[in-house]
Symmetry: C2
Subunit: 403 residues, 2 copies
Amino acid sequence: MGLIVQKFGGTSVKDAERVMNVAKIVTDTYKKGNNVVVVVSAQGDTTDDLIDKANEINPDATNREKDMLLAAGEQISIALLAMAIQKLGYPVVSLLGWQAGFETTSMHTNARIRRINSERLKSELDRRNIVVVAGFQGISRYGDVTTLGRGGSDTSAVAIACALHADLCQIYTDVEGVYTADPRKVKNAKKLGEISYDEMLELATLGAQVLHNRSVEMAKKYNLELEVLSSLTNAPGTIVKETAKMEKMLISGVAKDTNVARISITELPDKPGIVFKIFSKLSSKDINIDIILQSVGRDNTKDIAFTVAKEKGKQALELLNEYAREIGAGSVVLDENVAKVSIVGAGMETHAGVASKMFEALYDNQINIQMISTSEIKVSVLIDINDADRAVSAIHSKFFDAE
Amino acid sequence: MGLIVQKFGGTSVKDAERVMNVAKIVTDTYKKGNNVVVVVSAQGDTTDDLIDKANEINPDATNREKDMLLAAGEQISIALLAMAIQKLGYPVVSLLGWQAGFETTSMHTNARIRRINSERLKSELDRRNIVVVAGFQGISRYGDVTTLGRGGSDTSAVAIACALHADLCQIYTDVEGVYTADPRKVKNAKKLGEISYDEMLELATLGAQVLHNRSVEMAKKYNLELEVLSSLTNAPGTIVKETAKMEKMLISGVAKDTNVARISITELPDKPGIVFKIFSKLSSKDINIDIILQSVGRDNTKDIAFTVAKEKGKQALELLNEYAREIGAGSVVLDENVAKVSIVGAGMETHAGVASKMFEALYDNQINIQMISTSEIKVSVLIDINDADRAVSAIHSKFFDAE
């Protein structure tokens, strides 16, 4: 008996049958005596359909109006899920982002939650209502509808769970938990029983795509236990918490991220401030940089390469082409055919040789490494996108099959 | 130069092309120096699609959740129209019902507007923004999304126009104005240049369906000039105002209403209070009664017949069957194959013989009259539904062709 927050993504509510299935999971939790808050995304393809409608009319519309449009998607799914819960005979109320008290910044399409005014949520729970909340959306200080950007519904769920001091936040997806690699691609991929926040963070950032890093960061900050599990099977999922039993594994997973592009600039004049200027130009346009490689070039110049999210690649290229001409640098090249493959594991901190084991696996398969980046619990390599799946399998075998 | 409120229904914004067409009309009005508030309905079939989705899951869901679901329809259309207006290069902001300050009663699916808090609307107009408002929806005192029921978007538009003291409220539809009869059915139907509120009210109530009576009543109360016109042609429409030039016509129109059912109860005991009891039973279930006919029956009993809206027919029948048994009345019969045909015109007040001219037209065409109801500016008859179109044509010819 406690308070449980459950989050269901778009595929979990994609049609009437799936919505009824979710209603069943929710009411099963409720009838055990728990209070339940459910956070849902827009149904299946709704968001894409709405974006198509918008693009047909005006692809350059303001982000404010894009948010107004997209927020309708979750509105539809919360109403339908509430109707399904009523059908099963349980008391329920659906709430939009603003009704659930999601106060956000006014950065439309990518807003951050400032606070949750949980008054309404609490009063509905006090009445023993199941509360169905629209994920992904909130309201700005100007009273405008905002959306939270990628992974927004996970973030909504975790934020509510933190605000209400929930006992558990369950993230339902179409996989059974967090795996040592993508189970659709790597046949020996193993489901993890537990994983630590930090490892999950690295995996989320690296494209494992089960949980968005914003939500894991928030869960870590408030020490909220998360469970990642499937809405289609009854199997227990993966628990994400502060200190996970690591089952004596060196690494907890291998992840692939293809949402990455590589930009290189050659023959940069070797003067102070030039590199800083490049990164501040990108940062002013909200373009984040990941792996950076700097090397000495010819004749008192240097070369620099770095990665950005794929959708920012062209914009970054244009920005830097202009700047490169200005300062008399060489060429700026964008390569979108790259992928980042990473291993993550708290075990690395205490075990030497983890990185070299990874490089060995790549070398054995003649996969060329373009860039390398490491942190205490992760090693990432940038490789050709065509080698990515092969690389993940090879690394996974090296670490998991051999043991 | 003034403030103009324009309302566009679902067919006017049914696809990208139509949305762009509406954006053109709106911005043409704006660039003449006017402030413009636009009220839109959900696109074409959106509302029906949403109702289908709901019925697939739970046809007996609460009205609160139905409102939550349906309100998403207008949210989509306001965002798309705002995007189209941006495409044409004009400043615009879209507002949901609650953002536009529509405070309503909490009677879900059929809420009434209590007041409009026009603060946000005014501040957007002060900034010379075109304001696109979601019709049909508002917010209850409990912070829940409500919808206004049939004709809700017209009502929204007129309410905003009244609250902001607009100079004109234009209701754009798929016909060019108010006609002497349905132009799709009656070939000599004539467009009226002007019509009075009272005549329009009778026509609206009687199924002419160009304007809902709630909106005409409100316009009359605030003496707001309305214009009914087409979003597809450039032709001037019909002006609705206090005193209309009636162009020397006896009647302003012939209307047909097929949303009607007839209920008759025979052999009611002739005791005081019985008829009152019947009507109070119906009224407690929100069933409105229109034409009433009472006649003396056999053996100290009486018969009574009356009409209700078609969708309330079965419910009324069940209610009254029970009561009839209780008081020992005869049978209760429901007839759904009826239609109400009416003539409306301020000219009637000063001209005798208008009603008999109508009856003559029906007699000449051997159409049997079941019930009659009259007011100062209208005569309605209840006839077999299969005679309805023929009756409208015959009456229209009698009044308009002959002159």
